[in-house]
């Protein structure tokens, strides 16, 4: 462990952890958009709900420095992460109740609107809960996220998505994506299954948000605005909708490209970073409209049937 940090440096370890977290969140969006076909432009809002919930609980129950003893603080952390995921899921279910009646682009616009509303709420959160910090940001979050935690979370996320997608539930979700009316005619309660897919995907975002909060130890509403939702959407589409492999590759590629350019571009050209990235994005999309991986998967992620 120390040897690894020695070789690649703590900075790149942190970037790797961030990439794992983004991958967890993106896998959630892939369940929502890639497998169920629900156009969601508000994923970062659920990420934020998870982040704030987990950070608040952690500060409340483990103290600012997490000095409650190793085992206690780690178990409180696990509890906070799960609570973050649960809060995001609950929020998704409540929002989904009315919003999932909408279809295609209208659903996208409604979730985008939800994202903007949540950003406004995060900005004004200090009015009702001063610990959340509002527009000044939330500080004093203990640094709990470590390499084992993110790897564990990503592995769990991949396994859950794989098993759900290849289960009967997954088949139903894909059927809804392919044709909602036909799926309904086959006797599927499409609304219920859409709510299940949406809630499941958002709970991933919540857990990822909790990990993010305890990685950088600082939360700011601008980390959860609609641009971040767009980032996740780009990752999922670039990888290939309905491909777990694609989402994983695109998440790591995206984060390492962003950071890599920061390191490898000469300082006087640093502002060209965000000129190059959109160009790459557009060119990739023009060359591979179905995403890098299409719907292909690595062997261990394929259906065994």
């Amino acid at each position: 462990m120390e040897l690894l940090t020695e070789i690649v440096g703590p900075y790149w370890i942190q970037i790797f952890q961030h990439a794992c977290i983004v991958a967890v969140s993106a896998l959630g969006l892939n369940v929502i958009f890639g497998y169920t076909g629900l156009f969601s432009l508000g994923h970062a809002a659920f990420y934020g709900v998870g982040a704030y919930t987990a950070a608040l609980l952690m500060k409340e129950f483990a103290g600012e420095n997490g000095d409650a003893g190793f085992l206690v603080s780690q178990s409180v952390f696990l509890g906070s992460l799960l609570a973050g995921g649960g809060a995001a899921a609950l929020m998704a279910w409540l929002v989904g109740l009315p919003v999932l009646r909408l279809t295609s682009d209208y659903l996208g616009v409604a979730t985008l609107g939800f994202g903007v509303i949540m950003k406004v709420l995060f900005d004004n959160a200090d009015a009702f809960l001063p610990q959340l910090g509002g527009a000044r940001g939330m500080t004093g979050i203990p640094r709990m996220t470590s390499l084992p935690w993110v790897v564990l979370a990503l592995t769990a996320a991949v396994l859950v998505v794989r098993n759900v997608v290849h289960s009967t539930y997954g088949r139903v979700l894909v059927a809804i994506r392919e044709d909602e009316v036909a799926a309904g005619a086959m006797g599927i309660d499409t609304y219920r299954y859409k709510a299940i897919g949406f809630t499941l995907g958002c709970s991933f975002a919540g857990v990822a948000g909790g990990l993010y909060a305890h990685l950088y130890c600082f939360l700011h509403p601008s980390s959860f605005d609609f641009f971040k939702s767009f980032d996740l959407l780009m990752i999922v589409v670039l990888g290939g909708l309905g491909s777990m492999t694609g989402t994983l590759v695109a998440s790591f590629g995206w984060i390492f490209l962003l950071e890599g350019l920061r390191v490898f571009l000469p300082p006087e050209y640093l502002e060209f970073r965000w000129v190059l990235i959109p160009v790459l994005l557009v060119v990739t999309m023009l060359l591979r409209p179905q995403g890098l991986f299409g719907v292909r998967e690595l062997p261990f992620l394929r259906s065994r049937v």
């Binding site: 909408l102 209208y106 903007v116 005619a185 502002e271 023009l286 179905q290």
Partner: protein, 294 residues
């Protein structure tokens, strides 16, 4: 009461500018079913072209409008040709992603020092703002000009869509672009024209926005773009009167929230209204319901 009416006028001014931007969103969506996220940035470019036309070349006002309109139209036609046309038969999400890409590119590329630069700039007023007091309410010539220009633009659009050959092509393509092509409509040309026309209105909006809210920077297009797009959806995307109605509602909701509640809740209330309206009428206020078939 005076305060309320004054705020209503401010909201009207903002809403009219949103309406000009919303036209481009609604026309493009109506014809190719694409949420053109780059439209807000085309609007920004319009503002900057006007800025240079006034500040550096001291052009008269009509020429300022001309520069912004032509510049934006050309830009939009190029964007459509490069980033959207090759993907017209790909999954719809692909062109949405390139739209986001083009939007980011325009924002960061124009923010380079070699172009517009990353700083805020004060937009020079091309004419003096005169205000008249009547019944405790202040009317400015600025509002008059914005109102007049917007109405002229709307009449021109109405004329183009319903009284010209290319307008008939636009209606045909938006109805069914394959069949329209079979009937001899040059689909590519019509779509290019639609992008150009929408961007021309955004250019006009950019000039007016610069004059009315005289501080511009390369990221200024994001929020107005998002609001105008929301307005188009609110009114029923694809419908021109809907876009105008939606924009006026957005302008009022934003101004009234800032005036009576708190400006920090401004964006939230606007979107709350949007979600409420969508739940009540899923295709917007004036949108026609679309049936989904197997």
């Amino acid at each position: 009461m005076e305060y309320f009416l004054q705020q209503a006028l401010n909201g009207l001014q903002l809403g009219l500018v949103y309406a000009l931007i919303a036209l481009g969103y609604t026309m493009v969506y109506g014809i190719v079913r694409l949420i053109n996220f780059a439209h807000g940035d085309v609007f920004m470019v319009g503002s900057f072209l006007a800025y240079y036309a006034i500040e550096r070349y001291a052009l008269p006002l009509p020429a300022v409008f001309g520069a912004a309109v032509v510049g934006c139209a050309v830009l939009a036609v190029v964007i459509e040709r490069v980033a959207y046309r090759p993907l017209r038969n790909a999954p719809r999400i692909a062109s949405l992603i390139t739209a986001i890409g083009v939007s980011l590119f325009l924002e960061y590329f124009t923010a380079l020092n070699q172009l517009f630069g990353p700083n805020f700039r004060a937009f020079p007023r091309p004419f003096r703002v005169v205000s008249v007091q009547a019944g405790g309410i202040e009317f400015t010539n600025l509002l008059g000009i914005i109102l007049a220009v917007t109405v002229v633009c709307l009449l021109a659009l109405q004329h183009i869509v319903y009284r010209t050959r290319v307008g008939r092509g636009m209606r045909a393509v938006s109805y069914d672009h394959v069949t329209a092509g079979l009937m001899g409509v040059n689909v590519d040309a019509v779509i290019s024209f639609t992008f150009g026309l929408g961007a021309a209105f955004a250019g006009v909006g950019g000039v007016l926005y610069g004059i009315a809210y005289p501080q511009i920077h390369t990221f200024m297009g994001i929020m107005p773009g998002l609001k105008a797009f929301t307005a188009a959806v609110l009114g029923g995307i694809g419908s021109v009167p809907g876009a105008v109605l939606g924009a006026l509602i957005m302008g009022q909701s934003e101004t009234m929230t800032a005036a009576y509640l708190s400006s920090t809740y401004r964006d939230g209330i606007a979107f709350l209204i949007l979600i409420g309206v969508l739940l009540w009428k899923p295709t917007g206020i004036l949108g026609s319901p679309r049936t989904e078939k197997v």
